[in-house]
């Protein structure tokens, strides 16, 4: 039994954490106060593959699986839940 994250998923976790802290967190309070939604974040997250973990590669997903999906959701939820909701569930 091995409880360590495989290197690939540790990278996914780090990518999601960095993105959450640098791109999502800074505007989070302003979004809440002014009822704004930053559409540009969606495009960036799409480019990074955050929406593709549960989609097979033949349909342009990355098929990284549920653990990657959960790691990304956790990192985003930590800084701003409204954006986390965008990460799709199957």
């Amino acid at each position: 039994m091995d409880f360590e994250l495989p290197a690939e998923l540790a990278e996914v976790q780090k990518l999601a954490r960095d993105f959450s802290e640098k791109e999502i967190a800074p505007g989070a309070a302003k979004d809440d106060k002014e009822h704004t939604f930053r559409k540009d974040l969606v495009a960036k997250m799409g480019t990074l593959g955050f929406f593709g973990c549960l989609i097979p590669e033949q349909y342009d997903g990355n098929d990284l699986g549920f653990l990657a999906h959960a790691l990304i959701s956790e990192e985003i939820a930590r800084v701003h839940s409204p954006i986390r909701v965008l990460v799709p569930r199957r």
Binding site: M1, D2, F3, E4, L5, P6, L9, L67
Partner: protein
């Protein structure tokens, strides 16, 4: 990340489970004579190769180094069947580990093989009447004497007191430095000046008592590690074996859940099985979920311990804390489902209810685990905004 079991693990689990089935019977009545039953179980555990897991390969063990995961698998399965069998195994591990950890080649060669075979029994003598969680308050004194030390003092709550042959005793060689002045000694049961002062009956009985040291001579070559290394040896031992207490809790809890599922299927009230009531279904679901959480924490902690992960100590504390507290809730809920049948003396739930309680206290109380965990959380840099 892979949550599937090691290849060897299911084999060991099956082996221990088969051992439990053939050596413990129904196990619902208390033994007629506690000490002879305890010795019988320890001997069988030795003969059948299970005690061998508490020592390294070189001295009669199974693996090259002692594996916390193996100890957890064994304790879970033993606890499922009998608290006494689990304690006999757990205390042998606790009493042997300091020797495996800090003993000289000569000490290891002399003491470990008979412990691995269950021919001799070990004990770990740390606690004193005025030194429980506060190890620094230990007042048993080890004064230097020609070619050795003279020990004076009292130890209590010592498992295997009276039936053990090899006692690892912690005493102060330098009282002015408190905990840092502790040293560890191997005391043989036939040493002059060593006696079992009292045998203490327990809620869930196992051999336990108080030891007295009256000018007990311990030769130089039976000091374990250097002078002043006692605390390090004691804490390292407790830290390694702590997750196995969590594993025993998982064993009790698993048994309680299985009994609850079986009972709620068979027991009929108001014209239907208890299992048909949503209130019972919800209880079972919560019990199963807590059990799974406890099991994962214990598995993770033991695995990290075996890989010498730097965060292992805090995970081990979390595993011990959660598993023992969850097991208490699970056993309590199972007893509730059993109704008055569950409190009849000799009923499996009555037994589990008594067996599970001390796990939240020994080898570091739940409160001490919380201190370890919060200390870990609060150390290091203060996060922004706090």
């Amino acid at each position: 990340m892979d949550y599937s079991f090691d290849k060897e693990e299911p084999t060991l689990r099956r082996q221990v489970h088969a051992w439990v089935k053939s050596n413990l019977g129904a196990g619902e009545d208390g033994p007629l004579n506690l000490e002879s039953e305890a010795c019988r179980l320890a001997k069988r555990l030795g003969q059948d190769g299970l005690m061998a897991y508490v020592v390294p390969g070189k001295f009669g063990g199974v693996r090259e180094t002692i594996s916390a995961r193996d100890l957890c698998v064994i304790r879970e399965e033993l606890a499922w069947g009998s608290a006494l069998a689990d304690v006999m195994f757990g205390v042998q591990a606790l009493g042997s580990y300091p020797i495996a950890l800090a003993g000289s080649e000569e000490q290891q060669r002399h003491y470990l093989p008979p412990l691995a075979k269950g021919e001799k029994l070990a004990a770990f003598a740390l606690t004193e009447p005025n030194a429980g969680s506060d190890v620094s308050a230990i007042s048993t004194r080890a004064l230097r004497d020609t070619n050795g030390y003279r020990l004076n003092g009292v130890k209590h709550f010592i498992s295997n007191a009276g039936i053990a042959h090899t006692y690892v005793v912690f005493a102060s060689t330098q009282p002015e430095t408190k905990a840092k002045g502790l040293s560890a000694f191997i005391v043989e049961s036939d040493s002059a000046g060593f006696s079992v002062k009292e045998k203490t009956p327990l809620l869930s009985p196992h051999p336990l008592g108080a030891l007295a040291f009256d000018d007990c001579f311990v030769p130089q070559h039976r000091r374990l590690g250097g002078e002043g290394e006692g605390l390090k040896i004691a804490l390292h031992t407790l830290d390694t074996l702590r997750c196995t207490v969590g594993a025993a809790a998982v064993g009790f809890a698993r048994r309680a859940l299985e009994e609850a599922v079986a009972y709620s299927r068979n027991r009929r009230q108001f014209g239907r099985a208890l299992a048909d009531f949503q209130g019972i279904q919800f209880k079972l679901a919560d019990m199963a979920t807590e059990l799974e959480g406890a099991r994962l924490l214990v598995d993770q902690a033991a695995s990290m311990k075996d890989h010498h992960h730097q965060e292992a100590p805090v995970k081990v504390s979390m595993a011990k804390l959660f598993a023992t507290e969850a097991a208490q809730r699970i056993v309590d809920q199972s007893l509730q489902i059993h109704g008055a049948n569950g409190v009849i003396a000799g009923n499996i739930l009555e037994r589990l209810y008594r067996d599970v309680r001390a796990l939240r206290i020994y080898e570091g109380t739940s409160e001490i685990q919380r201190l370890i965990i919060s200390k870990h959380l609060l150390k290091g840099e203060q996060p922004d905004g706090l």
